[in-house]
Symmetry: C2
Subunit: 409 residues, 2 copies
Amino acid sequence: MNQFQIVPEGTVTSPAGFTAVAVAAGLKKENQLDCALVVAEADCSCAAMFTQNQVVAAPVIVDRETLAADNSCLRAVVINSKNANACTGDLGLANARATQQIAAVALGCEANQILVLSTGVIGVQLPMAKLEAGIVAGAKGLAKENGRLAAEAIMTTDTHPKHLAVRVALPGGSVTIGGMAKGAGMIHPNMATMLAVLTTDAAVAPDVLDGLLRTAVNRSFNRISVDGDTSTNDTILLLANGMSGTAVTDPDSIAQFGAALNQLCTALAHMIVRDGEGATKFVEIQVTGANSEADAHQIANTIATSPLVKTAFAGSDANWGRLLMAAGRAGVPFDQTKINLWIGVRQADELQLVANGTPTEYQEAQAAAVFAEPEFIVRLDLGVGEETAVVWTTDLSHDYVSINADYRT
Amino acid sequence: MNQFQIVPEGTVTSPAGFTAVAVAAGLKKENQLDCALVVAEADCSCAAMFTQNQVVAAPVIVDRETLAADNSCLRAVVINSKNANACTGDLGLANARATQQIAAVALGCEANQILVLSTGVIGVQLPMAKLEAGIVAGAKGLAKENGRLAAEAIMTTDTHPKHLAVRVALPGGSVTIGGMAKGAGMIHPNMATMLAVLTTDAAVAPDVLDGLLRTAVNRSFNRISVDGDTSTNDTILLLANGMSGTAVTDPDSIAQFGAALNQLCTALAHMIVRDGEGATKFVEIQVTGANSEADAHQIANTIATSPLVKTAFAGSDANWGRLLMAAGRAGVPFDQTKINLWIGVRQADELQLVANGTPTEYQEAQAAAVFAEPEFIVRLDLGVGEETAVVWTTDLSHDYVSINADYRT
């Protein structure tokens, strides 16, 4: 019942009525792309989710204010990489607002129609002269075919751009949803990921858009972890410009649009995990048989963020004792004599390692073969209820340490 | 007002009436010490604290039962390294109880006077024949001078033994408190650390001993973190045999004994952090100006366990944005415009990096010089209250990954 299809080479500009541009404004070294504009040809409904960190970057504060005032007239998103504009005080806030003004003038709209996103180093003021020149130059180069370059411009330690688009056949006509995201480190979103911009040419009211985005994000970006650290800048935006002429108003259309949005978000979230800093493994942690989804999620999350689990993944060492140790420290009560543990490259090929809390007679070579794969599944059943949760994570490798020990140099 | 003094080369056998032995029972390779006995010449009061992990090792279950039945008649502790006897089911429990029996026969006491501790790999049954032979042989070699060897025998990835003793002049006479601990990895105790055995020749009633141990542990072993992972085997025991002839009953004696115990526990806890797996730094995280000690502790802990903070420590990179990021994701509400941050090699030499949420005019070279030191202090003030907490932690280095990616091989 696949009612949507992947758009080949799809990007944030695949939906009708969106263009983009990427420029090298000089924030990064050596003429690398570091600033992107995504621009809609008509006013957009916008739904957004932001970091739950207590320390929030200036653009998060400004975007929250902008959307609280009016979330039905958005025209453009300005994203810079290399500098997070976080912990930058009043000047940082003023710079974020000035960025809105600069873009509004360059694009011929109002400042309250512009959203701003930043990612990069914390505690350094934005070089506004460079950024202004970049935005002004960029506004002259907006084009449909720049979607991939925009995804490249928002990268920090990402090794490749992350973008995707899907086309959905709704009862009233076909609509497209596109998206781009950046991740790599400080990835343990709570409400949203580092940065993601999603676009659609469907006509969707802001409140409907908001509900659909929350549902999709809670099962995708909120279920991934690279290092357990939640960024000060996490933001996900979904802009709907209505230019397909198809409205998402009836329950069927909402359900189908929502399903496609879920898939798009899950795919982008997986791309972030796969490109996690130093990641050599992509591991799906399933917790089943729990009394509540919250319990299952908490345990899956604790396993996914345990340094000892993640270094065992890095070493391809099926040291399952660490999986149980991490489950046991998650703060969720359970009976260790009821737990069962399986690992497998695919669900169908599961190998049971633990039955009722004690090791099975499995062969170490079989377990080692699973952990040697670049992708595998770990499933822990608590044996007490029916609820489940899934979290996707990576290993903790030497490269993660290398990348982060020297990030600023 | 230093009412206690360090005993030179002090160990768990420094108090009167304690002996020890260490043997190579064959659990580790190449004739390494892997089993220790600590034996009292008189019945001991005993206080104990165990892991809060939901997955608990067999010896933890057995010791809890043993102490619940009678905590005033303990005679010996048997500790093995290399094998945690965790996730070993009914056979694991039977083996822990058999260890009590074997030691009781060898030492000429009752099984309920023996406590058993294990540390090492999870999910493997103890080689009981080897362990029995080791205990029987060891019981014949008990001696006062074996305290340091006992501390060596309980090591896993520790690089050196950890032991200490202090002498306290109480109103009624002088008493000694000795201790040994092992740590290195899976160190983020919640109630107790990996393994620690403390002894004293003071006469202390079990309930008094229990209160003193809890107070000491909560400010020492419960305030350290190497990797945020809580072991299935964490246990700390304090045995009091009364053989000094000095009783700890009056408030003054209790206070002075408690102060010395706090110092001993703090010193042993620091030794564990300094010898953390791959550790190249010893960092004191102070959080001040909080509304509650719990808030301060939660934030200090989140900073101490953040992979991005710990890799910055490893890289000697004064990337303070990560400190604020970690504080902000601790789940404690605060106002980012009120926070202040200092770093320093000593409290007196503090360098302020952040004032009211924004960077000061400090020189990068000054900050880098602090982070280049092997030991330094980070102090974050929330600016809202009077409560404080301190946590001690290490960096996350390449060696941590190396040690843990290949732990079992």
